[in-house]
Amino acid sequence: MSLVNEVTVAVIFVAILAAGVVAILKSTKDRTRRVSHLRFFIQIAAVFVVFMGLLIGPFNQPLWLPLGSSPRDHLIGAGFFGNEFPDGISLPILACYYPNGRTVTCAVWQIQAYIFPFWDYSVGYNVFYSTSGLEMLVIVFSSIIFASLLLGRFFCGWLCPFGLYMDLLTRVRKVFKKRHLSFSPKTNTALHQSRYVIIAIFLILSVIFGSYSIFGAELIPGTDPNTGHDVLHSGITSNINEPFCLVCPMRPLCILIECGIGSMNWSYVSQIVYGPFWITGFYVTSINLAILILVTILSLAYRRFWCRICPMGALTGLFSTFSPFKHVALTRLHKDEQKCTKCGICKRVCPTQATEMYDKKGGDVTESRCILCMRCVEMCPYGNALKAKFAGKTVMSSRNWLEDKV
């Protein structure tokens, strides 16, 4: 695709996006739903951007080219950054590396992958990097920090494809007129805190599986890529070096989409390739599928269930809501103590049961549980009691419902 075509597609997309935003803002009369509708629209648009590689990728390829590579690999990631960083732009959203054509890439995948130095030809996926793993880790963490300071967990609330999936499940539940369940505050807090344990575990596992390449010694047998020539060992060295991906619920969704539109051969998903290690296919493990099913069921009952334990959200929250980052984060919520009546609506409508907006007396609200969906601001019935700010400027504030009716 030529640069002119790419620019044309981008301009058309932005025009459609802008027209959609204007149409939603104009057409939605119910002001308690306006931002929600806008967010839903942005979420869908974000999915198109994230998976652009799928949409314009080559279809109907023979078996030997399950992923293809061109023109998808010449998109923003590989084409723009070149060989120094060919895996796509790091974003703090669950957007699986493989199916999306490297338009953007899940930062958790990159962190795991670069801890495990698979750019070593003998163990890797034959991707050549002209930079060291340490340097690429710095790039990824810089990307996460930049994105987190800029927009915080706005990524979770507005842009993450898996967030959209959970919101769709919520809509399904509402169709059946079932009320959502809520965790007790103690359980909810424990779930949110578990995010940090989860990501720590998987990063440690990445180091363990990459131990031979990192330290020159195997921490567990079978991780020496130079000697792993049987099926089990090749499975460990080539497939478990990104352990979180083996349990990530987003991965099967991505692959289902890819198979659904004909960009991936279903046999790659369905056939057993790594023998006895719980693997059901080249891309999807039985753990992936089990967790997706579990998360789906739980998300039908509890709003945004996965966001409470998401390691990606943990990273974004870490770099936007904890000191010293929270002092310079540009996107934040603000509460006016004088105007708040402690009605509790903000607490009840929060999909992740974040409570700081309610509990805090006033001032900036920076809570790692908050996904910046703005539902609290949208629903708050007191004018200017709650505000969403970007770079110190108010971009949205709560409205006085009584005045609206007058």
Binding site: P62, W64, L65, S70, E135, S142, V231, S234, H327, H334
Partner: protein, 220 residues
């Protein structure tokens, strides 16, 4: 309708701007070998040169164009089922073919002169009679080490001698991708520098906003 290339009996002959079908044989009579492609395709030129077929601007259905490909076969017939360049910027690609009869196959992808000389700038894997993607056969999808069924010559020609039924060759030439160590750090690591600059920029803006909002008279 595809126009089949004529079989060339000997010497150096050429066909220009021709298309071919799976039934089109590219014979190498001197070596008792024939090359077929599993899909329709076309090329700007195909010529038999020193018992090797040289294809220019080869384009197979479902595959990306290949600038140059030299294929030879001796005492066997091969059918090339796939041939694509993965990343043009990396000169990476792969070819898969089926073999009939014991014999020798040679491939030259027209890569940089350093490809055959410097192991550090190349990735080269040859899978002999094993499927590298499914790994559901006895050999476990492992590539064969150089010298065990295949060799690489200094001119970049891969000679496969150990394929009984099929082979898959993956290559990647990184000679043009290496960072010039003579360049200043900021020039040789532009993505890293850009990332750090972005973080520094957003931190500066954040600090400015914070200072502005906390000073007397500023908006909280």
């Amino acid at each position: 309708m595809a126009v089949g290339l004529l079989s060339v009996s000997s010497g150096s002959q050429a066909q220009t701007a021709a298309s071919f079908t799976p039934d089109t044989p590219f014979n190498i009579p001197d070596c008792n070998g024939t090359i077929y492609f599993a899909f329709n395709g076309s090329c700007a030129q195909a010529r038999l040169e020193n018992s090797t077929w040289v294809f220019s601007d080869l384009q197979l259905a479902y595959s990306t164009p290949v600038a140059s490909l030299r294929v030879g076969t001796k005492n066997c017939n091969i059918t090339i089922t796939s041939f694509s360049v993965f990343l043009a910027s990396q000169n990476a690609g792969a070819v898969h073919y089926n073999v009939t009869g014991p014999g020798i196959q040679t491939f030259n992808f027209g890569l940089s002169p350093a490809f055959g000389l410097n192991p550090k700038i190349r990735d080269l894997m040859v899978f002999l009679d094993s499927d590298p993607l499914t790994q559901n056969n006895d050999s476990g999808g492992q590539s064969a080490p150089e010298g065990s069924g295949w060799t690489l010559s200094e001119d970049g020609t891969i000679t496969v001698t150990g394929a009984a039924a099929e082979a898959f060759i993956f290559y990647s030439d990184h000679s043009s991708q290496l960072i010039d160590s003579d360049l200043p750090f900021y020039q040789s690591h532009p993505v890293l520098m850009a990332s750090l600059v972005l973080v520094a920029g957003v931190v500066l803006v954040g600090v400015a906003v914070k200072v502005k909002s906390t000073r007397p008279g500023g908006k909280p």
